[in-house]
Structures are given as structure tokens and as C-alpha cells.
């Protein structure tokens, strides 16, 4: 099989995958109190994301982007509405089921990387698999594999303080990928890096999406948004144009 036909086959598979709905939100509302004032962070968000899609959520500060991401990531529960991931209504499961679902379905990439400073790159990736009770040998193998994929094969034993911003963010992406989640949620993943690193990070997310990984990026950066399959614009807790 020649190179072109191989690529063609891979694209077909990816396109086929993009027809399944991996994430769906229905009437998502979130209200919290700031002192005595109720803040309506989300006012009924309906969203559908297909498997392997790379989408961006944009909008001004306070438009509800991070709240939406937190709810999808099961870090917060909505006041109203439902979230389905892989056909499972994650907003309806018992609290004690949440950590397991979070491990299986979600990989987080944070703006400030949020790596554990005392651990090496390998340790930071490997720790994510500990909670999934993966055997140590397998954890090390998988962590090495994903870090090598991120081009950090020679930085495995470096601590975050010994890594550049771009390298730290790649460790963070490797950590998010460790448990092979259904969706990667990236909150301003390029907010703290220079433009060269930004290109590199978006390149990586693009590559992951092309390989069938669903990626949702919250960003302020229009350059980043333009390079995603679809842009969802949030204004005052609602999807614009919805």
C-alpha cells in the first residue's frame, strides 16, 4: 500500500468517526451566588460535538467558557440540564462514580500547566494512571510512550522547573492523554506560551484530532480558533446564533 492510499484510509476512518456524537449538552444552566447577587454563568447551552472534532469555545471574559468546560469535565455540577459523554448521562450518575468517569472520559490541559513541581515529567504523566490502578510497569511504559510522542523522550526525568513553558504544556498534554480519554478539555492551552510554542501546541492538538481524539479548546486567541474545525461563540452564557 502506498503512502497516499494509507493517508486516504486514515482520513476516511477519521471522517467516519466524526459522524458519532461523543458529547452532547442539553439546556445547560449554571447559576451561582456572588454575595447576594445571582450570577447566571450559563443560560441554557445546547451543544453537540462529534468524535475526533477539534472545536474551540470563544467569547469575552465572563461569558461562561470556563464554567462550561468545568461542567463538561465533571468538576462542577450544573444547576439545570444534562451532559452526555459517550452516551452516558454524566450529570445523572452518583457522586462516587464521578472520579472514575473523569479518568475514563476526560483529559485536562490547563493554562498554567498545573504540573506537580516535585515530580519529573514522567512522574507527572504516570500519576494520572495511578488512580486508574494501572500497574506500575504499564504506567511507566505508557507515560514514556506519550511523552516520546510529544517529543519529550529526552526530558523524561526533568522536573517542571527544568522545562520551558512549551515543554511543560506538552507534558500536560501527555498527562491528559495518559488514560486514553474520550475528550481532551484544554483551558487556554496557549495562554502562557510564545507564538512559536503556540503553533507547536496547536499542531499537536490538530494531530490528535486527526487521529480520532476529540479536543475542546477554550481560547481568547482568534488565531487558535481559526485553526479548529468549529468555533462556538459564547455570549452571556448562551451560544451565539443558537
Amino acid at each position: 500500500m502506498n503512502k497516499a492510499s494509507k493517508a486516504n484510509k486514515a482520513n476516511k476512518a477519521a471522517n467516519k468517526a466524526k459522524t458519532d456524537i461523543i458529547l452532547q449538552t442539553r439546556g445547560l444552566k449554571e447559576t451561582y451566588m456572588q454575595g447576594k447577587v445571582p450570577i447566571h454563568a450559563l443560560q441554557g447551552v445546547d451543544l453537540q460535538v462529534k468524535r475526533g472534532e477539534l472545536i474551540s469555545i470563544v467569547g469575552p471574559s465572563g461569558s461562561g467558557k470556563s464554567t462550561l468546560l468545568s461542567i463538561i469535565g465533571m468538576l462542577e455540577t450544573p444547576t439545570e440540564g444534562e451532559v452526555f459523554i459517550d452516551g452516558i448521562e454524566v450529570t445523572g450518575v452518583k457522586m462516587k462514580e464521578i472520579p472514575r468517569l473523569r479518568r475514563e472520559k476526560i483529559g485536562f490541559v490547563f493554562q498554567h500547566f498545573n504540573l506537580l513541581p516535585a515530580l519529573t515529567a514522567l512522574g507527572n504523566v504516570e500519576i494520572a494512571m495511578r488512580f486508574a490502578r494501572v500497574h506500575k510497569k504499564e504506567r511507566i511504559r505508557r507515560a514514556t510512550e506519550v511523552l516520546t510522542e510529544m517529543g519529550l523522550g529526552d526530558r523524561l526525568n526533568h522536573k517542571p522547573s527544568e522545562l520551558s513553558g512549551g515543554e511543560q504544556q506538552r507534558v500536560s498534554i501527555a498527562r491528559a492523554l495518559a488514560n486514553k480519554p474520550s475528550i481532551i478539555l484544554a483551558d487556554e492551552p496557549t495562554g502562557e506560551v510564545d507564538t512559536k510554542t503556540r503553533d507547536l501546541i496547536i499542531g499537536i492538538l490538530r494531530r490528535l484530532s486527526d487521529g480520532g481524539q476529540t479536543v475542546i479548546v477554550v481560547t481568547h486567541d482568534t488565531w487558535v480558533a481559526e485553526r479548529t474545525d468549529r468555533v462556538i461563540r459564547l455570549v452571556d452564557g448562551m451560544v451565539e446564533g443558537a
Binding site: R102, N114, L119
Partner: protein
């Protein structure tokens, strides 16, 4: 998980060391005070078991007073069921010394009865007293050690010199701190006339000690009795009070150590708010966070316990060595004490870690992630 716990502890070396020292100090107190209590307990148990078959007869005017005379012994001996009875005079060996724990005492006894009184203790050197002995004495091991004397040497008691004719074997009881001398000589040198401290009444075989004690009390005028079981009860109560005082002082010290663990863990949990947020975002369960945090506290408790035990052992060993020259044994570390000390340390660490751990598990991951 163990490696993460150790990493977290080693990350804050000074604080961890200080906390461990706090626990160690508490457990040190438990070991030292406890070993003192254990020693008294054991001395009592042995002393009691060595004289368990004898009924003590006192003058009714005062327990442990010297208000009973030798002649009463003859009256007691006549009571049915009494095999033998004889007076004993007890007095401090050293001038000004009390009859308290650790002090040496003389026991004036009829010389021909010395073997019976001291039974089942045997002499390790020399012989017991015998009829006709006057300024002769049989001494316990503590007296021998303290005065550095043995058979053939002389010891001064109340300005009179007594020749040591026998040294008793070590018993771990009051007998070790005793110099047995003939009763009439003791009464003489202590200027006690015909007085004795108490009369020992030995029941005939098969006679119930408690019933016989009552019978003696009813049959002989002006005496009070203490049966073996009454004596045990009385002594146990005093020992209990002593144990409660020493152990509660030690427990208080240990609880302060425990509070220092709680303080450290609370600070550590606050500092790691964000870390817990990250771990939860990575799928850590409540149980993982709980094990991690309580584990840290428990390990600090364990290390503090080991350190406290080691320091306590060194001090107790040193003190015993030093006191041995004075013929005193004051501390005894028993396996029971070691187990209690260690369990207490681990329990204290674990309990002190639970509240901070619960706080850590209750944090909302989103709030924890936003925490700076």
C-alpha cells in the same frame, strides 16, 4: 502511594522533623513515665506473690504503725488455723530515709524464721540468719550493690556494725532493698522496746486466709488484720492512682504531640489545595486523597513513636545504670509498654491526620484549581 507519601514528607523536611520531634517527645514521656509505673507494678506483683500466703496483723490503733508488741505474736499463734506467727520490725536503713520506693529498709525478724519469712527467696551467697545470730545480717542485692559489700563485710546500721552472713538472690521485689537482722537487736538499735511493725501470721495448709484474718481480729484484742486479698486490693488502689497520675501526664504530652501533627497536616493541606485540585481533576478518588493525607500523618506518628521509644530507652537505660550504683531500680521497659507506646503514636498520628484529610477530600476540585 507510599512513594508519594514519602515524597511529600521529604519535601518539607524541617517541618516534618519538628512534627516528628513533637510526637517523639510525647512518646518519650509515655515510655519514661510508663516504665516507672511498670517497675512499681512489677515490684509490687513480685513482692506480693512472695508474701501472698501471709496475713499481716497490726495494732488496731494504726495500720503500718509500730503499736503491736512481740507478745501479741504468741496470742496470734494460738488462734486455730494459724501455723506460725512472729513479729517483724521494719525501719529505714539509712538515717532520715523513708520507707518509700527505692529506699533501703531493715527487717527485724526472729533469726531462726528468716528463711521462712523470706521464702521462696534463696540466698545466692552465704546463709540465712540462724538462732544465736546477733549483729549479723542477710542483705538484698540492691543493698549489696549500693554499699559494695558481700558476705564477710560489715555494714553500719544505727551506729552499730553488722556482719553480712548472706546475700539474697535478685527478685525484683522489696526484698532486694532489705537488710534482715535479728528482731531483738533491731528493737534495740532502733530503741523500739518490745514493739514490732506487724505480725506475720502463716495459715495452716488448707485454711482460707481471709477467714483466718477475720478470726484473728476477733480472737486477739487490739489488733487489725490485713488478709492477702485485702492487702492486694489496698496496694492495687495505690498503684492505680500512681499509674493514673504518671500515665495521664505522659498522655497529655503525647496529645500535645498529636496536636502538632494536626497543625502540620492542616498547613500542609492548605498549601497543597491546588495540588489536591489537580489530583482530583486527574481522577483521584476521595479514598486516594484520604490515604495520602492520613498516611503522611500516620508515618509521622510511627517515626515519632520510634524516635521517642529510642530516646526513652536510652534515658531509662542510663538512669537505671546510674541508679544501680545506689541500689535502686526505678524503670522497667516491658514489651507491653513498647507495644502500647507504638500503637499510641501511630493512633495519635492517624487520628490527627483524619480531620485535615477530610478537609482535603471535601475541597471542590474547581475551587482548589482556582486557589493560588
Amino acid at each position: 502511594m507510599f512513594d508519594i507519601i514519602l515524597r511529600n514528607l521529604s519535601q518539607r523536611k524541617v517541618r516534618t522533623a519538628l512534627t516528628i520531634s513533637g510526637i517523639a517527645l510525647g512518646i518519650f514521656a509515655v515510655i519514661v513515665m510508663g516504665s516507672m509505673s511498670e517497675n512499681f507494678n512489677q515490684t509490687f506483683e513480685t513482692s506480693f506473690s512472695l508474701t501472698a500466703d501471709k496475713i499481716r496483723v497490726f495494732g488496731s490503733s494504726g495500720v503500718f504503725g509500730g503499736s503491736v508488741t512481740t507478745s501479741k505474736a504468741a496470742e496470734v499463734r494460738k488462734v486455730p488455723g494459724v501455723k506460725d506467727a512472729y513479729g517483724l520490725l521494719m525501719a529505714p536503713l539509712e538515717e532520715g530515709g523513708g520507707m518509700s520506693f527505692g529506699g533501703n529498709q531493715i527487717v527485724g525478724l526472729p533469726p531462726e524464721k528468716s528463711q521462712t519469712v523470706l521464702e521462696p527467696v534463696q540466698v545466692s551467697e552465704g546463709r540465712f540468719l540462724m538462732r544465736g545470730d546477733r549483729y549479723e545480717t542477710v542483705i538484698g542485692t540492691s543493698v549489696a550493690t549500693q554499699y559494695k559489700i558481700g558476705v564477710g563485710d560489715r555494714i553500719e546500721i544505727q551506729d552499730k556494725y553488722f556482719t553480712v552472713v548472706g546475700v539474697l538472690e535478685y527478685t525484683g521485689s522489696f526484698f532486694d532493698a532489705t537488710a534482715a537482722v535479728p528482731l531483738d537487736i533491731a528493737q534495740d538499735v532502733y530503741d523500739m522496746g518490745d514493739m514490732v511493725s506487724m505480725i506475720f501470721a502463716i495459715p495452716e495448709e488448707g485454711v482460707d486466709g481471709d477467714l483466718l484474718a477475720k478470726r484473728i481480729k476477733l480472737s486477739v484484742d487490739g489488733v487489725d488484720t490485713l488478709s492477702p486479698s485485702e492487702l492486694e486490693e489496698e496496694a492495687r488502689q495505690s498503684l492505680m492512682i500512681f499509674s493514673v497520675i504518671t500515665i495521664s501526664a505522659a498522655v497529655l504530652a503525647a496529645i500535645i504531640g498529636g496536636l502538632s501533627v494536626m497543625n502540620t497536616m492542616l498547613m500542609s493541606v492548605m498549601e497543597r489545595t491546588k495540588e489536591f485540585g489537580i489530583l482530583k481533576a486527574l481522577g483521584a478518588e476521595r479514598r486516594d486523597i484520604l490515604i495520602m493525607t492520613v498516611g503522611e500523618a500516620a508515618i509521622m506518628g510511627l517515626l515519632g513513636g520510634l524516635l521517642g521509644l529510642a530516646c526513652g530507652w536510652v534515658v531509662v537505660y542510663g538512669m537505671n545504670l546510674w541508679l544501680a550504683e545506689k541500689g535502686i531500680v526505678l524503670f522497667l521497659i516491658t514489651p507491653r509498654l513498647v507495644v502500647i507506646g507504638m500503637l499510641f503514636a501511630i493512633l495519635l498520628g492517624t487520628l490527627s491526620g483524619i480531620y485535615p484529610a477530610l478537609r482535603a477530600t471535601r475541597m471542590s476540585p474547581m475551587e482548589a484549581l482556582r486557589y493560588e
